[in-house]
């Protein structure tokens, strides 16, 4: 029996690695030819290209076409590490780096960017014979839980060594696919991101990412270890390795965001609330839709632009910048009424940011969803942000496995406890998992932040409740962008944003819904808060709408947006927020929309605040406090709305966080998104 097994194993051994489909990328023709020949000798199916962009294109066209990517580090058209990140984010394929330079620093860089291995040229065939292990390993860790015992069995064998368990491995591969499918429940990929479609890889949906972020926040970014995060997340089918690599990316993301965030924060503060122009869509390059925001963008744009430099978001940044401008959210922070206005204005500002963030979020999401979101948002928000939102929304939706939930939850949170909302939404968004979701997450985070900001002080904002409705839009603005920008918001406002979580969601929504609140309009949520910007606001809106809104955001972000929108006005419109808060959400929304885009986070916060979800605020604040979040938010979401004050802060933070993550992730990947992942 043993002999037979061995024999069969060896047979499979011969077969197994042979099935490996490798994509080799190297600009040096000699090296490429050599690599190709070596790989063919190992019986792999090789596809070569000397252009990194071409490689990406091929990978994106069909995610299942390749099992492994080998890439040179030094390439003229794109840095190998950047390609590595992108591939890791978007397709989650194992990537092996190759270089003539074996400097440990470079090797380290490869590791931090997520490479499975680092080979030094000239490569020997023996080294290539073993690369299949990376594919197996990756596949195993993904659906691992699903397989359960099955894997166990295989594990034993496969761990054994390449040859013995070939058969197992093969089996595992098959299983993996199946697991993948099962696993994909958590991942929203299915609908949203084609990229994230069922692949035997872990896809970090927004929802999943949200959970992740929540877990990380709970543990504290310093103390967050994969094992504990995994436990906290309590997601089936997720392995420690998945979490570990995701955490790594997240950390990078945060770093990036923090640098951007700080910029934004400054900007936002400087801009003051008034930015209805904040929406300046300008920053939003990606958003495009931000135009609506443009009015407000002015402020935001400045901030956002600043943000954009953050680079992370590349695209998002710009919008984010606006959001940042929203930072005025901090302004918003002023308690309640004031805060709200501030936040709203900031929100408004945020909108752009949010929008941008959302964008970034979308970016993260893998963009496709974001695009969807945009569309969603657009329809919903009407505001420019929509596009952004749409993306976010879609993203959010898709990402967050339960987008609606996220938002709804946020809204619920709002209602129940503003704080909770923030947190909840935040968490949700955060856990959105997957960066794609990040945006949504960010939003959440942002929301939280913003909420916090808003919440704390603006609880009054929320109170207006009406604001929500009015502002709803802002959120939408934020939705897409804000999402990302949201995080920035966090920083601003931690204070009240307990809503952040909510906002965060909103940010996403906001942006997606393009703050234009169209989303929320239906909500009528009391977005009035104007916090709108803070998607959170939407959440505040006593969860109402969110859940209900479920709308366009699809993710719920819309919901948030809706509310946020209402709130959002807060950010950019901040001023309007205050009054709009009570007014109809429509008004707010608009303003917020502006905010929302950027500020959504901020707006949200304001809204949140308004909701009086003080709890939320506090919570959001707490969340927002997570500098991590905020930073993220900042970075991401340009949450200009920071001004949202607590809510914004929360939102921003949340969003940022999420965004950061997403952004971070997306940054890499989103080359296309013009997201400059800061690489």
């Amino acid at each position: 029996m043993t002999v037979e097994k061995i024999m069969s194993d060896s047979e499979s051994y011969d077969d197994f690695p042979a099935r490996l489909r490798v994509l080799a990328v190297d600009d040096n023709p000699i090296c490429l030819k050599l690599l190709e020949t070596l790989l063919r000798k190992c019986q792999y199916h090789v596809t070569t290209t000397s252009q990194a962009r071409m490689a990406l294109k091929m990978l994106r066209e069909n995610k299942d076409r390749f099992d492994l990517v080998i890439s040179d580090v030094h390439m003229p058209d794109m840095d190998g590490f950047k390609l590595l990140e992108l591939v890791g984010l978007e397709m989650d394929l194992p990537v092996i780096m190759l270089s003539a330079n074996g400097d440990p620093k470079l090797v380290m860089k490869g590791i931090t960017h997520g490479a499975c291995d680092y080979l030094v040229k000239p490569v020997r065939i023996e080294e290539l014979r073993n690369i299949w292990q990376h594919v197996i390993r990756k596949k195993r860790t993904e659906p691992k839980n699903q397989n359960g015992s099955a894997d166990q069995g295989n594990d034993n064998q496969s761990s054994g060594e390449g040859n013995g368990s070939q058969a197992d491995r093969n089996g595992k591969c098959n299983r993996k696919r199946k697991d993948e499918e099962d696993f994909s429940e958590d991942n929203e990929n299915e609908n949203e991101d084609p990229a994230a479609s069922k692949k035997p890889r872990v896809v970090w949906s927004i929802q999943l990412h949200r959970k992740f972020v929540v877990a990380v926040n709970q543990l504290g970014i310093e103390k967050a270890v994969p094992k504990r995060i995994l436990d906290l997340m309590n997601v089936e089918g997720l392995t420690r390795e998945n979490v570990a690599s995701h955490l790594q990316k997240y950390r990078l993301y945060l770093k990036r965001i923090s640098s951007v965030a700080s910029q934004q924060a400054n900007m936002v503060a400087a801009l003051g609330v008034k930015d209805s122009h904040f929406m300046r869509t300008a920053p939003f390059e990606g958003l495009g839709d931000f135009r609506t925001l443009s009015g407000q963008g002015r402020f935001a744009s400045a901030a956002l632009s600043h943000y954009t430099t953050g680079g992370m978001f590349g695209r998002l940044n710009t919008p984010n910048v606006n959001l940042r401008n929203l930072s005025p959210s901090t302004l918003i922070q002023p308690d309640h009424g004031q805060n709200i206005t501030n936040s709203i204005s900031s929100l408004g500002k945020v909108h752009p940011a949010l929008a941008s963030t959302n964008q970034s979020q979308s970016l993260f999401q893998g963009i496709p969803s974001s695009l969807e979101l945009d569309q969603l948002q657009q329809s919903k928000c009407g505001t420019g942000m929509t596009s952004f939102n749409a993306i976010d929304n879609s993203r959010l939706r898709s990402r967050f496995s339960d987008p609606g939930a996220a938002i709804n939850s946020s809204s619920n949170i709002f209602n129940s406890s503003t704080n909770m909302m923030l947190h909840g939404s935040y968490q949700q968004t955060m856990s959105g998992g997957g960066f794609g979701n990040q945006s949504s997450q960010n939003m959440a985070s942002l929301n939280l932040d913003t909420f916090n900001v808003g919440v704390n002080s603006s609880s009054s904002l929320l109170d207006s409740g009406t604001i929500q409705s009015s502002t709803t839009q802002p959120a939408s603005l934020l939705s897409t962008e804000p999402f990302h920008s949201q995080p920035p918001m966090r920083t601003t406002g931690n204070s009240g944003f307990s809503n952040d979580p909510y906002l965060q969601k909103n940010p996403i929504d906001i942006s997606s819904s393009t703050m234009s609140l169209p989303l929320e309009d239906s909500r009528e949520m009391q977005y009035q808060q104007g916090l709108v910007g803070d998607v959170q606001n939407i959440s505040h809106i006593p969860s109402q709408r969110w859940g209900e809104q479920g709308q366009s955001y699809g993710h719920g972000s819309t919901a948030t947006f809706g509310s946020l929108n209402a709130h959002v006005p807060v950010s950019g419109v901040v001023s309007p927020l205050s009054h709009s808060l009570d007014q109809d959400s429509g008004i707010v929304n608009e303003k917020m929309g502006v905010f929302m885009n950027g500020r959504f986070a901020g707006g949200a916060s304001t809204l949140m605040l308004q909701n009086g979800n003080e709890k939320l605020a506090s919570e959001s604040r707490a969340m927002a406090n997570d500098s991590f979040l905020l930073e993220q938010q900042k970075i991401q979401t340009v949450f200009a709305p920071r001004s949202y004050d607590p809510l914004d802060a929360m939102m921003n933070a949340m969003i940022k966080r999420e965004q950061d993550e997403t952004i971070a992730n997306y940054d890499f990947g989103f080359d296309d998104y013009s997201f400059e992942s800061g690489m």
Binding site: D27, N28, P29, I30, C31, K33, L34, T37, L38, R40, K41, D72, H74, A100, N101, K121, P122, R124, I125
Partner: protein, 145 residues
Amino acid sequence: MQRQLANMKQSLFDQGYLDEQFIQLEELQDDANPNFVEEVVTLYYRDSARLIQSIEQALEKSPLDFSKLECLMHQFKGSSSSIGAKRVKSECTQFKEYCRVGNSDGCKRTFQQLKKEYATLKKKVEVYFQFARQIGPVEKACRSK
């Protein structure tokens, strides 16, 4: 004849013109890829000629753009190491080091040295291949082991 070829190859190794990588190339040569080594080496000549020209142009500028030079040389080093051109590779390393510290004279000097080594290697390898072709595929198989 076989032995002559073997000796020739051995001397190339002994003199440090080629290293084990070259053997790897030969091992990759099989029925599916009968002229693999020659193909790769030819490709190398072509690519190197291009690089050498670029480097020469860059060296004429003043002041020298070290990062660009380093980048070009990195490519050259990569291909040289891929075919096992040992001496050329070490010159490349030296050149890169001079670039790193910003030593213009060092760079220029090393480059001249590099060109010389490259020319020598090319000649020797050409002779080797000619001889190998004369001997025939059978010999090649023997030699490869």
